[in-house]
């Protein structure tokens, strides 16, 4: 049995303009079955993936933003959002979906998955990881 690795999925792209946001999310969901220590980072335009109120009807494209709310069920509970990336874009956490997970060890108490970190803190988060997925 190989040691559990720390996986970091790095999201830097906005949704819909390219497929990277959606197809990288698909990796995270499939990857959940492999029981590694998973984190996601949303930096740069990646923060736009989580904005509330996405309506793709006019584009005739699938709106995949509801899928992020399932991440907790897939045991992806460490979602790092970079503060500077939000600020540069005039966004706050209130503009983003509120992502949560349920802690089985605490009577299924609902907890926040999102951790707002500065870039300097993100450097430290990265230093702690084993494998980076870039899309």
């Amino acid at each position: 049995m190989s040691k559990v690795k720390k996986f970091m999925y790095v999201n830097r792209r906005a949704p819909y303009g390219t497929i990277y946001a959606w197809e990288s999310l698909e990796v995270v969901l499939i990857g959940a079955a492999f029981e590694q220590d998973v984190s996601m980072a949303f930096i740069g335009d990646g923060v736009y993936q989580l904005t509330k109120g996405q309506d793709t009807t006019g584009l005739e494209m699938k709106n995949f933003s509801p899928t992020y709310s399932a991440l907790g069920d897939y045991e992806v509970t460490k979602i790092y959002i970079e503060k500077e990336s939000l600020e540069e874009r005039g966004l706050t956490l209130d503009d983003l979906q509120h992502l949560t997970w349920e802690d089985e060890d605490e009577d299924w108490a609902e907890k926040d998955s999102i951790k707002l970190v500065s870039r300097a803190e993100m450097v430290k988060v990265f230093a702690d990881q084993d494998v980076f997925f870039n899309f």
């Binding site: 690795k5 990796v27 997925f133 870039n134």
Partner: protein
């Protein structure tokens, strides 16, 4: 050392697949093991056997097939990405009612789990993309 290589872009459009190929070749020449080459996003287009590139330039698909054959490489095309982009093998043709296949020699279509497994089993994951 064991490497898994991820290729995110198709042939000719971006340099990614060229860089991935040359890196893979160099790693093999140094005696390393390539656990898997995983083609994702438009990278699945590296696995069509129907390209006819100009004679005076590199044949990207063919050289992946040849490198694969020479070193018994596991060249995996992501099924979900392949379905979107129309890379089809016999299994997919049957499953999805397609009247043709186009997969190139030496490639196989499989799930995203193969990428994740590659990342777990390898010492290094190297991503080439746009």
């Amino acid at each position: 050392m064991k490497f898994t290589i991820q290729v995110n872009e198709g042939p000719y459009q971006h340099q990614a697949t060229d860089s991935a190929y040359l890196f893979t070749k160099a790693a093999l020449e140094k005696g390393h093991e390539i656990f898997r080459v995983f083609f994702y996003h438009d990278g699945v287009n590296n696995g069509t056997r129907l390209t006819t590139p100009p004679q005076d330039d590199r044949n990207i698909v063919k050289r992946w097939s040849e490198l694969g054959a020479e070193h018994d490489l596991d060249l995996v095309i992501c099924v979900a990405a392949a379905q979107r982009r129309g890379i089809v093998d016999d299994g997919e043709a049957e499953r999805n009612g397609k009247d043709a296949t186009n997969i190139a020699e030496g490639f196989r279509i499989s799930g995203l789990g193969q990428l994740v497994e590659g990342a777990i089993q390898s010492d290094r994951l190297v991503v080439f993309g746009d």
